[in-house]
Amino acid sequence: MTTKVLAPRVYWTNFLWLMGLLALTWGLGYVNFGVFNLPIALFISFAKTILIVLFFMHIKGSSRLLHLAAMTGLLWLFLMLLLTLTDYYSRGWVSVPR
């Protein structure tokens, strides 16, 4: 599928949203939400990523095949993090005889 030509306004609006989210991330760094600081910060980072991927990288309006390809990296990363962390989290739960 040939990439559609978008209006410059789309890119500048996206830029303003990204800067707003950056300000939010930055501000968050000075507030103590305890254990929630990290999840909120990551949530904002994912929001920024979605904006960049949809508009700057033209995933919005592209083919299903590209949607799938764009998801693969994230999926494998998620699996790698999940499986490794279950290991670290559960170490020492049971004593394994040698």
């Binding site: 830029f15 930055w26 980072s45 960049i52 990288m57 990363l77």
Partner: protein, 216 residues
């Protein structure tokens, strides 16, 4: 676009330009998936060590330069916007715009690297570089050194990607100057744009993880 120009840029293994463009983009997205996992190993190491010593990571993170890191985030987001506009200029065949936007993107990449250099210099003088000269006067120096090892590995790998991106933009600007993207052949610019945006996304995660791990 004239018939002759279209045939000129169409490689023989493709039926039409649309198929050729789709193949180029698919190839780039697959490459970016491998890049996600390339950085993913470091993100995984970060996650595990932060999970094992959260207090030391928070304390070490307070020694990074949050103003410079935040400014660099803004610089990259701005450069990504210019890159997206460069792709648009290439789509529309506006050669003059394209050249300037590519040069501006490369320039912002260089500013990013300059700020990074300033930060690294401060880290060096404050003995925060892991190794024989590392000095830490708070609790758990081992974990703090691990944080700074990851900080340098992650920002270093990212910086290498930025340098590659700068070179890419400069080469593309020369190509645009030589009218290589004439006749609808804008795909190289779009592909390079995907790379640049990816590098931006990596930084979007590095900023909160490395600079804001402990609230200030």
């Amino acid at each position: 676009m004239s018939e002759a120009a279209a045939e000129n840029i169409l490689a023989e293994q493709f039926d039409d330009l649309e198929q050729q463009h789709e193949a180029a983009k698919l190839g780039m997205w697959i490459f970016l998936a491998t890049e996600v996992l390339f950085f993913g190993g470091l993100f995984l190491a970060y996650t595990v060590y932060r999970y094992l010593s959260p207090e030391a990571f928070a304390a070490a993170s307070r020694h990074t330069e949050v103003i410079l890191g935040g400014a660099n985030t803004a610089i990259l987001l701005f450069s990504s916007t210019l890159m997206a506009l460069a792709v648009r200029a290439a789509q529309l065949g506006r050669r003059g715009h394209l050249i300037w936007l590519l040069l501006a993107t490369a320039f912002l990449g260089m500013v990013f690297m300059g700020v990074k250099g300033l930060e690294y210099h401060k880290d060096f003088t404050e003995h925060l570089v892991p190794g024989a000269d590392f000095q830490w006067h708070e609790a758990n120096p081992g974990a703090a050194e691990m944080f700074f090892w990851l900080y340098f590995a992650m920002t270093g790998l990212h910086a290498i990607h930025v340098i590659v991106g700068i070179i890419l933009m400069l080469v593309l600007a020369v190509f645009a100057w030589r009218r290589r993207f004439a006749g609808g052949n804008y795909m190289p610019v779009e592909i390079a744009g995907l790379y640049w945006h990816f590098v931006d996304i990596v930084w979007v995660f590095l900023f909160p993880l490395l600079y804001l791990a402990g609230h200030r």
